[in-house]
């Protein structure tokens, strides 16, 4: 039979396949050059980029949890100008779509970074991170109320002319309301979910494991919640959804498509198997062939239930 068609289209932007990497889990891509051909991926989202250089939170920043982990990196990065000058030139020639995850504490900062990203020719889009649970002000605060989610999306939309993906927080009562608010302000796509706020405690020392006490939970533990949110949001909005949360293999990725995602991002799994993304790609192709499905696009929202 014909080779499976893996191309997808997220709001006008074509990806050669639906497997992207999640911000903060894939560095700038080149960290994986020894393990895989990064060009094989549908897209990569580089780590959270803020206007200014940030040192991030103090060590320890990581705690292993059942089928998952907590992190409190806290957006450590060299700032948007450094990215544009020093990192972008090194990675722009990857034959994959590179998205910059734009993070911040103030709306003006988001706007400034977004403006700077307009000028980077080989950056076809940004992922607006309004859901980082690991910084004191801003971050998640924007993503957990409709008015603030609306406000920051609107401000960035006004200045940013390419693909605007907005990344939603799962730490909310109704993610659909936030999704609709953001869609209403002109987002081109939605990515979800960011991490769930959690704590790990060391019973022997009677201290929190993380320097920040709370951190963001990722990994397979959160997959059922992520699938539910993708499914709910896909019923509530028209723009495409990029699903993530605990994807470890092709079957997990397919579940996200069935729930309503057009593409997926792989996060924590990269730490455990740095070649996992290409294995997921192969597995998706194998699934499509085995089920005689021509295009991966036919899986989006194809869960039979209602």
């Amino acid at each position: 039979m014909a080779k499976a068609d893996l191309t997808v289209n997220i709001g006008g932007l074509e990806l050669k396949n639906p497997v992207m990497t999640a911000s903060g889990t894939f560095g700038y891509g080149h960290e994986f050059d020894d393990f895989i051909d990064v060009n094989a991926l549908g897209g990569i989202v580089v780590k959270g980029t803020t206007l200014e250089h940030r040192e991030g939170n103090n060590y320890p920043r990581m705690a292993e949890t059942p089928a998952g982990m907590l992190n409190s990196v806290g957006l450590q990065n060299r700032g948007a100008a450094y990215f544009a000058e020093h990192i972008y030139p090194k990675i722009r020639h990857y034959a994959t779509r590179i998205f910059v995850n734009v993070s911040g504490s103030r709306i003006e900062d988001y706007v400034k970074v977004a403006e700077m990203m307009n000028d980077l020719e080989d950056i076809p889009g940004i992922e607006l991170n309004i859901s980082c649970p690991n910084v004191k002000e801003g971050g998640m605060a924007f993503g957990t109320s409709c008015p603030s989610a609306r406000e920051v999306t609107k401000a960035v939309r006004e200045v940013y002319h390419k693909h605007l993906m907005v990344k939603l927080s799962p730490n909310v009562t109704s993610i659909v309301e936030i999704a609709k608010a953001v869609e209403g302000e002109g987002a081109d796509s939605l990515s979800l979910i960011n991490t769930l706020l959690g704590i790990a405690i060391n019973a022997e020392t009677r201290r929190p494991v993380l320097s920040t006490i709370t951190g963001g939970l990722s990994g397979p533990a959160i997959k059922p919640i992520a699938l539910r949110m993708v499914w709910q949001v896909s019923k509530g909005v028209k723009i495409p959804i990029i699903g993530m949360g605990g994807i470890m293999n092709a079957t997990d990725a397919i579940e996200f498509f069935l729930a309503g995602a057009t593409a997926v991002q792989v996060g924590t799994a990269n730490f455990i198997d740095p070649a996992v993304t290409v294995k997921i790609l192969d597995g998706i192709a194998e699934y499509l062939n085995r089920h005689n499905i021509h295009s991966v696009r036919d899986l989006t929202g194809a869960m039979e239930c209602c």
């Binding site: 903060g24 960290e31 393990f35 982990m69 992190n71 990196v73 730490f271």
Partner: protein, 257 residues
Amino acid sequence: MPRKTISTFSVSEVIHLSPDTFVMHLQGVPPLPEVFAGQFAEVEVPGSPDVFLRRPLSIHAADRERGMLSFYVKTVGKGTRRLSELLPGEKVSVVYPLGNQFTLLNSGKVLLVAGGTGVAPMLMLAQSLKGAGAEPTLLIGGRSASDIHVTEAYHEAAEVLVTTEDGSAGIMGRVTDHPVLKENFDFVRICTCGPDPMMKALAVIAREKHVICEASLENTMACGFGACLCCVVKTTEGHKCVCTEGPVFDTRNLENW
């Protein structure tokens, strides 16, 4: 630096040195990539329901031609316990070689100081230093004689000194109490791996003696190759990843050392 790889090894032997210390020998497909003293691996813990992430372990020995990789491990929790129970033939996935290395001086006396499982990278380091033309002395500290596992290979590579807290082997006390650090100190450098307080005390001694101290850190890690930014240490130039810019650091560059 050699390319990093993910490779599947098969357990050839787990040798128990004491109730909580073991050496794990793995067999892979030769030739292995080149490995330098101080580098580490991220080792899968197979078949463990409670372990999600790989475990970082210093490379204790590597035989490129024969495809052997060895680790020197202390059982401290669920992951290391499961590794200690592996049976010959079981498969283990290993991501390696990771991190930088100790500086290989080609002359002069170098003092290697190991506490606990800090001994893991020291045999290879002593051998490499000797091969390069330096004169290594290896000072190993433990609580008691049962913590000290020095084989012939150690004596071939270095002059070996021992301290134990209970005096059951070598000199009684901690490594920092050993006379070699006091009278006639004629080392050009200290290389150390072990508990932070021990390494910090050595950094202070090195500063007094006006020599460089290289310390190998063991921060908790999620990835081991620079992707997660979880393993940072504060340096004079801000946060650095222990997994890519370390694990070996010149202690002058570490904040509060």
